[in-house]
């Protein structure tokens, strides 16, 4: 780990769909081992920003540095290497529907590790037990509930002990207790694996519970209007939009 360079460094990032600008001039850094929250109202481009950070979309302007390497100036192979060290949990879990949970988790392990099949099976049951799904190895994603799918997606995202974990609306569709359990799990993962965590969320309870640092995107200004620790933002921010969001008032 390089202590002086940030884990993620976003410089002047502008995101567009066709001619429509989603967000522009985004500048922020995410340090190693930090839980970083991207917040903002619905439709302000949070998920789009996440897609840029994980390397699914190429910025129309600006750069994304991961561990000091410019993602889009690296060769395809190098980029794939960087990307494969990420773990991403998508909104709906995005499990591969033609494979069982075990096969879902086995795929990244088979691709990027030198484990033999017996070891892979052991890792699979360990990862599933971490998210409370021990014994569900042979179920297909269509056979389990939405919340379970999400947790299985997390097990897959953690399969390779990633350096950065990205979460797209982790609490969406979860009941309050499961959502709280997921928050605890995120913090434990950060503490035990030393992973950096980036979360897209508008779930206030979990934002305050886990967030070390954050940015706030605004759909009208199309850029970051506030940044800092969520708790501190709540106390000190003068911006009425941020206050409204964080205190749930109108």
């Amino acid at each position: 780990m390089m202590a002086d360079t940030p884990h993620l460094n976003i410089c002047n990032l502008t995101m567009t769909y066709g001619d429509v600008i989603i967000q522009k001039n985004l500048n922020f850094t995410v340090n190693y081992g930090e839980v970083f929250i991207i917040m903002g109202g619905s439709g302000c481009g949070k998920s789009t920003l996440l897609r840029h950070l994980v390397g699914l979309m190429e910025p129309s302007n600006g750069d994304v540095f991961v561990g000091g390497v410019n993602l889009w100036q690296a060769s395809t192979e190098e980029r794939n290497q960087i990307i494969s060290r990420n773990g991403v949990l998508y909104q709906g879990g995005a499990l591969w529907s033609s494979m069982t949970l075990a096969e879902n988790i086995a795929l990244p392990l088979n691709e990027y590790s030198n484990l033999n099949q017996k070891q892979v099976q052991e890792v699979i049951s360990y990862k599933l037990s971490l998210v409370g799904l021990a014994g569900f190895e042979d179920y297909y994603p269509s056979e389990i509930s939405g919340g379970m799918r999400k947790r299985a997606g997390l097990a897959r995202a953690m399969a390779l002990d990633p350096e950065i974990l990205f979460f797209d609306e982790p609490s969406a569709g979860l009941d309050p207790v499961s959502s709280r359990l997921l928050d605890d799990l995120i913090l434990e993962l950060r503490d035990s694996l030393g992973a950096t965590v980036v979360i897209v969320s508008h779930e206030l309870a979990s934002i305050f519970a886990v967030g070390d640092n954050s940015i706030f995107l605004d759909p009208d200004e199309k850029t970051i209007i506030a940044s800092g620790s969520p708790k501190k933002l709540l106390e000190t921010s003068d911006d009425p939009r941020v206050k409204q969001f964080l205190t749930r008032t109108i």
Binding site: G92, A94, W96, E111
Partner: protein, 377 residues
């Protein structure tokens, strides 16, 4: 002075403006009066203020609300102040909600009023993008193929075997039915003509040649386009909607290698085999017609085919089937990966996969036929 205009409302002229008296039920089910005539009357009177009297008002729903929103909006446009204080509190609150967030500028889309030239231009740009996307896809496939040759392509052999099973054995029944019928139809059509010359035996040549060179491969390809090509587009399209493709990419696994390649290989391997089977079934179909309509025995029929339909014709058909297999799989997977992120986009992807496949099949068939003519086989 008051004028009764409709049983639903009355306009009363006051010293400082107009008073609108609402009465009876204002619901979607009851008749709601036309606003335009009322509005004209109000505007013609040039009042400064509009107020309401709702004592006679019966039950109401959004029928009344849409009427009031439109009325208040027009009054504002004409600088007539509206006194909402006399409306029932429920209506006041709903009106507040309706006017709370002003319409976002530019939110209305102006696509409907596009001139024809602009539409043609847009379609052309879209087509151009489509073709360059397809070319890019073919390029990626090529690199995937190179990786495969070097033994570095990442896909699961279990996927390949599953796809082969889906594309091959599972399609046999429909291929049997269609091919036998096509063979019979060819024989029927030929029989009527050949009988006039007493050359019935040549029915074997007609059916044999037709099936081997053209119809076997062509019918197999069209069946597979509708059956398997559409399925590929729908499978990959659904994966796109569920972010499963994104999940692959963020693991550094190429969807081309992992998803497209097993499907492409499966069709490439099974189509020639299916074509041989279809040829054989078509020839049997012809034999049935020959035996029942023309009194040509099975033995005569097959001997005629053996003697006059050389093996190279079968070879050309089988080669075509391989090419068609690549085209059907490419079109299906391309449309699937190109799919948008909604349920209707999946349907569209499946449809356009079939259309693209069939167009490519016919064009490729024409090209191969001309090439065969040129080199004389």
């Amino acid at each position: 002075m008051s004028a009764k205009i409709s049983e639903k409302y009355q306009i009363e002229l006051l010293s400082d403006g107009l008073n609108l008296q609402l009465s009876g039920d204002w619901r979607f089910q009851s008749d709601i009066p036309d606003l335009d005539s009322l509005l004209r009357q109000i505007l013609d009177a040039h009042p400064q203020k509009l107020s309401f009297d709702c004592q006679q008002l019966g039950r109401w729903d959004s029928g009344l609300m849409t009427f009031l929103v439109k009325l208040i909006r027009s009054c504002k446009d004409h600088n007539i102040s509206v006194d909402q204080g006399t409306l029932p509190t429920g209506i006041q609150k709903l009106l507040q909600l309706a006017f709370a967030v002003p319409e976002r500028k530019g939110a209305h889309r102006a696509i409907l009023g596009q001139p024809v030239l602009a539409k043609i231009g847009n379609v052309t740009i879209e087509m151009h993008r489509n073709w360059s996307d397809l070319l890019a896809f073919v390029g990626e496939l090529f690199f995937g193929f190179l990786n495969f040759l070097r033994g570095r392509a990442r896909f699961r052999y279990s996927d390949l075997f599953f796809q082969i099973e889906m594309a091959g054995p599972s399609a046999l029944l429909i291929i049997t039915l269609i091919s036998v019928l096509i063979g019979m139809i060819l024989a029927f059509v030929g029989a009527v003509q050949l009988r006039m010359f007493g050359a019935e035996i040549f029915i074997a040549n007609l059916v044999g040649l037709g099936m081997a060179r053209e119809m076997g491969a062509m019918m197999t390809a069209i069946i597979m386009a509708g059956r398997t090509g559409a399925a590929y587009a729908a499978q990959l399209g659904t994966m796109q909607v569920n972010e499963e493709i994104d999940a692959l990419k963020t693991m550094g696994i190429s969807p081309i290698e992992f998803l497209v390649f097993p499907r492409l290989l499966a069709l490439c391997l099974t189509m020639p085999l299916l074509c041989i089977y279809a040829d054989f079934m078509g020839i049997i179909g012809g034999a049935i017609v020959s035996a029942t309509m023309l009194d040509i025995s099975f033995f005569q029929y097959f001997q005629q085919i053996q003697g006059f339909v050389p093996l190279r014709h079968f070879g050309i058909g089988i080669f075509k089937a391989g090419v068609f297999g690549v085209l059907v799989a490419t079109a299906g997977c391309f449309r699937g990966l190109q799919c948008g992120r909604s349920a209707s986009a999946v349907g569209f992807a499946a449809t356009s996969a079939v259309v693209t496949s069939i167009v490519l099949i016919i064009v490729a068939d024409a090209v191969i036929t001309v090439l065969c003519q040129l080199i004389g086989i």
